[in-house]
């Protein structure tokens, strides 16, 4: 078991012939993901790497191949439309890797996707991986190993760091989800916590948040009221100055809200384990398995 993706995931890649799309398409295929189609307008009828059929539209791809999941590697000006195209074409999961999507575009896309009952992960995220089964996005496969820990994070490389530490210590993962660092994203911590709570294989959860917004505080409240499984949390940006966007569009302390201290307090109040350093996840998770 796992969350969101598994061996039944049939993937269509939007932007499969682009620089990033083609590189990661190969990586995902090597990992064993069922890549059933690609989409690049104007290249319909061709094949990627001689095998994967390319279509002009997501609709065509879904009809011809039965793809149920889409991953998006198109440039930022086209990302919002790509998400809506995928949702309209009938896939149930859309993962948008693209960084730099204007937030006002997302205010349009979010209700569009919600109303169709489609799950969106991202934008500006590394995607997700269910070790040994399927990978959708850019998380390096070799740092993961199957096991009992669910991982959810707003950041890419910080996720890699923690997963790498866990794997090195012999602690594997059910699914690792990068929800992205933008102020408006399709899937939040609570969505992932709820999925991990339901997943019988997940025994503990590692959650990496960062400064900005109140997602982590709401997640802590959810842990307190809805979760039976142990959750260990970390917040990046304890040394960040207020009012500055720390790389991620969403990582900004506004006035006195969104600080690391506020979030860590919420974690403590929810009885969560608190990792002061990425390495601390290893002992804290081990003690809870």
């Amino acid at each position: 078991m796992s969350v969101f993706i598994d061996t039944n995931t049939k993937l269509v890649i939007q932007g499969i012939t682009g620089r990033d799309g083609s590189f990661h398409a190969k990586q995902m295929m090597e990992y064993g993901t069922q890549v059933v189609a690609g989409v690049t307008p104007g290249k319909g009828g061709q094949r990627f790497e001689g095998t994967v059929p390319i279509f002009n539209t997501v609709m065509d791809a879904v009809q011809a191949t039965g793809a149920n999941t889409s991953v998006i590697y198109v440039p930022p000006p086209f990302a919002a439309d790509a998400i809506m195209e995928a949702a309209a074409a009938g896939v149930s999961l859309v993962v948008c890797i693209t960084e730099g999507v204007p937030v006002l575009d997302m205010t349009k896309v979010y209700p569009f996707v919600k109303e169709r009952g489609v799950r969106l992960i991202g934008p500006n995220c590394p995607g997700l991986i269910t070790p040994g089964e399927s990978k959708v996005g850019i998380i390096p496969g070799r740092i993961c190993t199957p096991g009992p820990v669910g991982v959810v994070s707003r950041s890419g490389t910080l996720t890699y760091e923690v997963v790498y530490q866990l794997t090195r210590a012999g602690i594997g993962q059910t699914t690792c989800v990068g929800i992205g660092g933008d102020p408006i994203n399709g899937t939040n911590f609570i969505d992932c916590l709820a999925a991990f709570e339901k997943d019988p294989k997940t025994k503990a959860i590692a959650m990496m948040g960062e400064i900005g917004g109140t997602d982590e505080q709401e997640a802590a409240e959810y842990v307190k009221t809805h979760m039976t499984k142990p959750v260990v949390g970390f917040i990046a940006g304890q040394t960040a100055p207020p009012g500055r966007r720390m790389g991620h569009a969403g990582a900004i302390i506004s006035g006195s809200s969104g600080t690391a201290a506020e979030k860590l307090e919420a974690f403590a109040a929810a009885g969560m384990g608190i990792a002061k350093r990425p390495i601390d996840f290893v002992e804290l998770i081990k003690a809870r398995l």
């Binding site: 937030v103 205010t107 890419g156 102020p183 408006i184 960062e210 109140t214 940006g237 720390m246 990425p278």
Partner: protein
């Protein structure tokens, strides 16, 4: 990206909002000439990206052109929260009856633009929200439909009992919303929105923050960037496609990925050091980026040690290693460097570094501790 008050006002004016005439000056003589032209009482206002301009003495009321020249002389060149005032706005002073607050911000919780309006204007809205939240009306907007008149009127009546004023305010909300959407804002506000003793609605101060992700498709807005009002090293970094924020410590950090970059700064602090900066070289690993990153970091005289923390995913660690070698060959380092690399092509990277006299570790905690010790002058 923050706009100056005068830039925000020009955009609002273009959308129909009534704003007193005003122009910017960079010298006291220019300021005096503008005041002479208006031939009435004016405000002289420092144009810097900082709150609390009034308290800092950067906003003055002047009755005569001579007074304007004197006040402009004092304000131009003054420092407000570390930023030097390079320009002042000279604008016709409005008679103030009442003051209201009208703002719109992209709200993360509702995932919509949300209006905030309050009759308690002219002061810090965050303070109002904290102390008397019932004085603020929040109205979310579904961008697919825009701001409907009934919602705009609801806000108008929240501010004013008089139907004429309520209608006038509702019109301003729609103009503000149009300006917000057309400019790609993450925040736009009019504070205060003034009712003059003659019963006219006037926007006396305006503020706009633009979503950086909008700038590529809005060159006319991107052109409003005022590089003189920014930290020079941050301008340099942006032009080199790096995300860089200068801080006050002495451990220079070069990291890939925003989350890991923040976590690295935090770890520096955890081990008793102070980070000199936030720097994310991003996902694609072009050796040129590393060269630029090192140039920007070593230009800061506070930096006593440099710490690389690279987790190779898309980023190839051998590209980073090559960047370090190239940069340090051209400009030998004056301060010690600690390198942590792991992930994609780690073995090749380690070999490149060793052949060029560098050592590197694959453990984040070890590297951070070393860098902190070196910055303190230890071993």
């Amino acid at each position: 990206m923050n706009l100056h008050e005068y830039q925000a006002k020009e955009i609002l004016r273009a959308h129909g909002v009534h704003i007193p005439p005003g122009r910017v000056a960079t010298t006291p003589d220019q300021a005096e000439a503008i005041a002479r032209e208006y031939d009435t009482a004016v405000m002289v206002k420092a144009q810097v990206h900082a709150g609390g301009r009034g308290k800092a003495g950067g906003v003055k009321f002047c009755k005569t052109p001579a007074d304007v020249k004197e006040k402009a002389t004092a304000i131009l060149g003054m420092s407000i929260k570390g930023l030097t005032v390079e320009q002042v706005l000279v604008t016709v002073a409005a008679d103030i009856g009442t003051e209201a607050y009208v703002g719109i911000i992209v709200d993360r919780a509702t995932k919509k633009p949300v209006f905030m309006v309050s009759a308690a204007g002219g002061i810090d809205i965050e303070e109002v929200a904290a102390t008397t939240p019932e004085k603020i009306l929040y109205v979310p907007v579904d961008v697919r439909y825009g701001l409907p008149t009934y919602d705009a009127m609801r806000m108008g009546f929240f501010l004013y009992e008089d139907v004429k004023l309520a209608r006038g305010a509702a019109k301003i909300m729609q103009q503000l919303y149009a300006a917000f959407m057309a400019s790609g804002c993450s925040l736009a506000e009019i504070n205060p929105l003034v009712v003059t003793p003659q019963g006219e609605l006037v926007a006396v101060d305006g503020k706009m923050v633009i979503d950086d992700n909008e700038l590529d498709r809005r060159p006319e807005i991107a052109a409003l960037r005022d590089e003189r009002s920014e930290e020079p090293s941050e301008v340099d970094a942006r032009n080199a496609n790096l995300t860089f924020i200068k801080l006050d410590g002495n451990v220079g950090c070069v990291v890939n990925g925003a989350g890991l970059a923040m976590a690295t700064m935090d770890l520096v602090k955890y081990y008793g050091g102070e980070p000199a900066n936030f720097l994310d070289i991003g996902g694609s690993s072009n050796p040129e980026k590393v060269v630029n990153a090192l140039r920007i970091i070593t230009a800061d005289p506070n930096v006593k040690a440099i710490l690389f923390n690279i987790f190779g995913g898309i980023t190839r660690t051998d590209d980073v290693a090559n960047g370090i070698v190239t940069a340090t060959k051209a400009n030998p380092l004056q301060v010690p460097i600690v390198i942590r690399l792991t992930g994609t092509n780690e073995e090749i990277a380690m070999k490149i570094l060793q052949e060029n006299g560098f050592s590197a570790s694959s453990d984040m905690d070890t590297a951070v501790q070393q860098a902190v010790a070196l910055a303190k002058g230890g071993k």
